[in-house]
């Protein structure tokens, strides 16, 4: 994975730093899991059940997910990056441009290995966070709680739609490298908190 793709965590980096006494409530959150591997799909859904998520949509393909996203509100999307045909990157790229109420739903992209041919897609798909496998329960919960407090604005440009990739206030999860050389990095430029559109 090249340096240009962030945020990404890899084995040995970005180790979860969860406080066991932290309280959270996902009981009313609707979470959609998209994975072409039936076993991984069920496993992730069971893990979410352990986290207290009651409503879990399980989709075996990007097409199934597309249909559901058009008709059901979703609070968090967990997508396997590598799927045959329309992959996870395609799905999120479509979602961000869909104009649906779900268009800016937080997205965790689960990735094992990113083929060289898909590096640009991975970088520009618009996911909030790319989580590297192996996907343990601890890592998944850590990233869910991180993305729940992700206060970054969303950018919509002709070439990119998704979270502002310049970390300023929140920063990436504990142990995950951020782009310190980016002049827009945290604290260097103070953008308006109001947002809006600019030309």
């Amino acid at each position: 994975m090249p340096d240009s793709i962030e945020p990404v965590d890899r084995k040995g980096a970005g180790a979860p730093n969860l406080n066991p006494n932290t309280v959270f409530n996902l009981s009313k959150a609707t979470v959609m899991v998209v994975d072409d591997e039936p076993f991984s799909l069920r496993l992730t859904a069971q893990t979410l059940l352990g986290f207290g998520v009651v409503t879990r949509h399980q989709c075996g393909s990007a097409d199934d997910a597309t249909a559901l996203l058009k008709s059901h509100p979703v609070d968090l999307l967990i997508v396997d990056a590598e799927m045959p045909g329309k992959d996870g990157y395609d799905l999120v790229h479509w979602l961000r441009r869909s104009g649906l109420d779900n268009a800016w739903t937080p997205v965790l992209m689960i990735s094992g290995h990113t083929p060289v041919s898909k590096v640009a897609k991975a970088r520009d798909c618009g996911a909030n966070f790319i989580v590297a496998r192996p996907l343990t329960a601890t890592l998944l919960l850590d990233r869910i709680l991180w993305v729940a407090k992700d206060i970054r604005g969303m950018l919509e440009t002709p070439t990119y739609a998704g979270p502002d990739r310049r970390f300023r206030e929140l920063g990436p999860p504990e142990g995950v490298r951020e782009r310190r050389n980016d002049p827009m990095s945290r604290g260097k430029i103070n953008l308006s908190a109001e947002g809006g559109s600019a030309a």
Partner: protein
């Protein structure tokens, strides 16, 4: 170039802080309880993938079938890493991801170098057995890394 900047707090961020809920410790314990029943099935999936991988590697395809053959190896490697990873088989997962990288490089280079693929398949078997001490497993992974590095990484 027009840029729309949208500031919108997600519903998830509001829900997660609602009264009630569970502690992280309890949630992880519950998740472990819910997923542990999958362990035996996971290992069966991995074993089946290793069997298929052995068969595929033993029958290399030339010509037009080569890319599909490498794609199948890549797919089986991802299946192994995806399935074994959540259950703590980190070395097995790392070796499978190494095979992903190798298969991807060979696909991109339109090259076929069979011995490194065979080495990976054998290493996955070895790591699956769990008989080796940590130092030996680490050495296996280091060896796989060297094998992959012999093939230049293609440009994106």
């Amino acid at each position: 170039m027009s840029v729309n900047w949208i500031m919108r707090r997600s519903r998830l961020s509001k829900l997660v802080n609602q009264p009630g809920g569970v502690t992280v410790g309890k949630a992880l314990a519950e998740a472990a309880r819910h997923t542990e029943e999958f362990r035996v099935e996971a290992m069966a999936v991995v074993a089946a993938a290793l069997d298929e991988l052995d068969g595929v590697v033993a029958a290399p395809q030339a010509g037009e079938g080569r890319q599909a053959w490498l794609e199948r190896i890549y797919f089986l490697a991802t299946r192994i890493s995806d399935t074994a990873g959540p259950f703590g088989y980190e070395d097995l997962c790392a070796a499978a991801l190494s095979l992903c990288e190798l298969a991807d490089r060979q696909q991109r280079a339109s090259a076929l170098d069979l011995p490194p693929l065979k080495v990976h398949a054998a290493a996955l078997r070895l790591l699956m057995s769990g008989d080796q001490p940590p130092a030996a497993r680490k050495a296996v992974l280091a060896g796989l890394s060297q094998v992959v590095d012999r093939m230049p990484k293609p440009a994106a």
